[in-house]
Structures are given as structure tokens and as C-alpha cells.
Amino acid sequence: MIQADKLSRLYGEKYAVRDLSFHINHGEVMGLLGPNGAGKSTTMKMLTCFLPPSSGTATVDGIDVQQDLDVRRRVGYLPEHAPSYSDLSVQEHLLFMGRMYGVPEATLKDKIHEMAGACGLEGRLSQRIDELSKGYRQRVGLAASMLHNPDCLILDEPTTGLDPNQMVEIRQLIRRLGEKKTVLLSSHILSEVDAVCDRMMIIDSGELRGMGTRDELIALSSVGLVLDVCMRGDADAVVVQICRQYKGCEVDRLGLEEGVVKLAFRHSDMTIPLAEAVFAAVVAVGGVLLEMHAQETSLEDVFHRLTGSDA
């Protein structure tokens, strides 16, 4: 389990991360989303003891990150761009990583083969890392981070540079790992976080903007119910009737072409039966309802609204 309480990190006088509080349960995959410079990597660096927090606390399996060696043993970390020793072969790199994490020599080779299998590196073990594609280097980094069987995995953009097939494989792997471990992963790819993570948190300018499941985030940032209507007939009468029936309802006229009116009805309360009311109103004024659908809030919309930028 990973827990952060008012975690902050200053660079000079500027906050890279400010008062960040969250917890990730065992057997849960948490996604960390945010625009560039939001503080994702700094947060991960504090949780992996690369940087100490300026204030606040963070614990990994109940151990404070200030007691860094005990925390580091429990964490598997894949830094951004998956750095590795390019002069070594994959096997040599993994042997080195295993030894540094104290994996017993007797089981190290078996462990390397197990991780190589899990990350699709069979047949690549004797190849030098500088001869590998970016996707395979990413896999090497992922295999190295899991070699010592850590309880927590912290993965900074784990699928960067992978082709779509590799992405699917790595996502499945992370999903499997997430059943038994605590996983925190950052990504710019919203669909990836959506597919892999149980919960996600969105940060911007170092501050938490939202946290929860996909549906909870959508509810948190939703502007309410939006209904797009395309009709022929007396649109003004329909608008008057709906606005009288539901106080606070806003209407945008999107256009008029050859007698067809496009309207967008907005209401903050998502529970009202707006579609039924619009249908009844159009029928009542003798109009023809050509099209009607409720706009769905996507994760991109949530990201955009919470951070004020695009992913």
C-alpha cells in the first residue's frame, strides 16, 4: 500500500508538488495523469526515495520514505524513458539489477528467465541493449523493475515507444501484476489509464485536481446533462415549455438549415428526464423530432476541464 499525506516538493521557491494526499491499496492499479510539468515524475521520485519531500509524508507498506533503504527494497521502479546500461547485454543488465536488489544468486537466473518470459524478452537475453528497439528497451526496464518481486510497482510512462501490439501486451501484464501488487503508473495516454487502472488521479501544477474511478471523475467534472436535439417545427415554443418545466435549463441554438433547428439543452441535474420532456414538447407543438442524443463526458473532457488543457 502506498499512502501520501500533504506531500510537497519545492524546487527553489517553486512548488513542483503541493499538498498531495492519496492512498493506493494493495491489489490496485492507480493511474497518475497530468499535463507536462504537472509534477507526476517528481511525485514518483519522492515515492522511490530519489528525492526527499520538502514537507508532508509518504509511506510504502507502512514504511516512511525517509527510511529510504527499506522502502527501496519494496519498490520496483521504471523511470521515464526506461534507462538501462546500453553497453551490456539484456542478461548482464538483469543480472546486475538482480544483484543490486539482493536477489539470491541461486535463484537469479531462474528469475531472469521468468521475467524475460513475462515481458516477451525470450531470445533477446544475449543481445546488447543498444541493439534493441525502444519497445524492447522498455520491456527490459519493466523486467528489471520486477526482478526482486517488489510489493509496489511505480512505472513512469511504461508504454512510451511501444507499438500498438506491444502496448496491449504490456497493459495486460500490468493488469495481471495489479491483482497482487500495488501499482502506480503515469501516462499521457488517457485510453491506457482507462483500460489498465482501477482508479486514477489527475494533477496539475503539482496539485491534486481529482481522484477516483472513471465514473467518479466524470461525475466530478461533468457540466451536467447535455442533450443535442435536431427538429423541424416551432422550436421557440419547445424551448419556452422546457425552460418553464425545468428551472435553470440553458439552451443553445446551434443552427438553422432548411427549416431544421439544432438545439442543445443543458441542465446541471443529470437525473431529470429531459429527453422525455423534449420529445413530449416537440409532439405537443406539432413538430417533427429528427434526432436526439445525450452527450457523454469522455475522460478527455474530464482531463481538459480539470487541468484546463488537452492531453
Partner: protein, 240 residues
């Protein structure tokens, strides 16, 4: 500050592996041994004596050029390629990283010095070599080289760029050499300080075949100082 010996040796082995697997180590060894051989042979035929003092004097200059080249990638390359983040998040202390790198560098230099043992062996076969003096001189060379290694490891810790690390390390060693050479131009009071603080004056003193505790302690202190500075430089990211 706990130091894990096993991890330190693993790091040292990895460095050794990198040197053995890349042309860098071989190029360095060939260049160093060629230069050593050239100066050994020149002195031998010029002087016509079974004596290595002149060669050991030149060796200090060669070390000044070669050790920055051997040390430049040690930490600068880790920082530039991002692997330092891997190292710094492993369950080891920063001092273990510093000592692992330093040990690897010292072993590489030692391997080169061991290969030069061919020269005293040749001389002892050709003439009457003062074995005691040569052994003391080799000890002096090892101590001087290890101190230079500590200086250059620090130079490699302050930058991400290997060339900058080389230039910075070389300039620090060059300054100590220039101060040593310019010693007679200074006042007596300054000369006393320079004799005390110049690695080359302690080295020259040992080349006479005399192993004084003060000389050995000087080199140990110099190693300690620069390894601590390297540790400080690597830890500095945490206090920014």
C-alpha cells in the same frame, strides 16, 4: 552510513564488464602501455643504467592524462543516460555507489600498472636493479593514481558531459602539477605549504625508496577528501 560490500562489488563488476566489452578499455590500455614502453626504452638506452626513477617521474605525467579519460564516463555517463536514477533508487547508499565506482576505477588503473611490471623484470634480468626502491616507487604510483582517480571521479560527478568531466579532472591535476613545478619561484613559507599539499612532492619523496607514514597518510587523506566531495555532489540533488 552503511556500505553493502556485495552491492559495491557487483557495481565494480559491472564497470569492469563495460570496460571489457567496449573498445574504450582496450584503446586506453594500448595507448598507455605504448607511451610507457616508449619512455622506458628511451630512458634505458639514454642512461644505460638499470634504474627506473626517470620512468616513474614520467609515469606521473602519463597518469595525469590517462586517469581523467578513464574516469570521465564513470558518473557523467550515468547522469546523461538516466541510469543514475536507477542506481540512486536501488537499496544501496550513495557512498556504496561512490566506493563501487572508485574501486572499479582503481582496479582498472592497477591492471595497467601490473602490465608495466614487465619493465622492472626486464631490467632485473639485464642488470642490478634496486628492487626495494622499485617496489616503493610502485607503491607511490598506486597511491598517486588512486588519488588522481578520486579527483577525476569527483570531476565526473559534477557534470553530465564526459568531455567536461575530462577537462575539469585534467585541469585539477594540471594545476597541482604546475604548482609543484613552480614551487621554487614562491617564498619559503608558501613552499612549505606546497610541499605539504602537493601530491607530486609526496610522490617524488617516495620514489627515493623511502616509505614515510606522512606520505602515505597524505594520499589516504586526499582520497578521503575527494570521495567525500563526490558523495556530497551526488547527494546535493536531495537538498536543492
Amino acid at each position: 552510513m552503511s556500505i553493502s560490500r556485495f552491492q559495491m562489488i557487483s557495481l565494480c563488476r559491472k564497470e569492469w564488464r563495460v570496460v571489457m566489452d567496449t573498445p574504450l578499455g582496450y584503446v586506453m590500455a594500448i595507448a598507455f602501455l605504448s607511451m610507457c614502453g616508449f619512455f622506458f626504452e628511451s630512458n634505458l638506452f639514454l642512461l644505460g643504467q638499470a634504474d627506473m626513477r626517470a620512468w616513474f617521474s614520467i609515469l606521473s605525467l602519463l597518469l595525469m592524462f590517462f586517469i581523467p579519460a578513464m574516469a570521465m564516463r564513470m558518473l557523467a555517463d550515468e547522469k546523461r543516460s538516466g541510469t543514475f536514477e536507477l542506481l540512486a533508487t536501488m537499496p544501496i547508499t550513495t557512498m556504496t555507489i561512490v566506493l563501487g565506482k572508485y574501486l572499479a576505477l582503481c582496479l582498472q588503473i592497477l591492471a595497467l600498472l601490473v602490465l608495466t611490471l614487465l619493465y622492472p623484470l626486464t631490467l632485473s634480468w639485464l642488470g642490478n636493479l634496486d628492487v626495494g626502491q622499485v617496489l616503493a616507487s610502485y607503491l607511490a604510483a598506486v597511491l598517486l593514481a588512486s588519488s588522481y582517480a578520486a579527483v577525476c571521479l569527483y570531476a565526473s560527478a559534477v557534470t553530465r558531459y564526459e568531455v567536461v568531466a575530462y577537462v575539469f579532472g585534467f585541469i585539477m591535476l594540471l594545476l597541482s602539477f604546475l604548482f609543484f613545478k613552480a614551487m621554487p619561484t614562491f617564498s619559503h613559507a608558501v613552499q612549505d605549504w606546497l610541499v605539504l599539499l602537493s601530491p607530486l612532492s609526496h610522490y617524488q619523496s617516495m620514489l627515493r625508496g623511502l616509505i614515510r607514514l606522512s606520505d602515505v597518510m597524505f594520499f589516504i587523506a586526499m582520497n578521503g577528501l575527494f570521495l567525500t566531495l563526490t558523495w556530497f555532489e551526488l547527494e546535493r540533488r536531495r537538498w536543492r
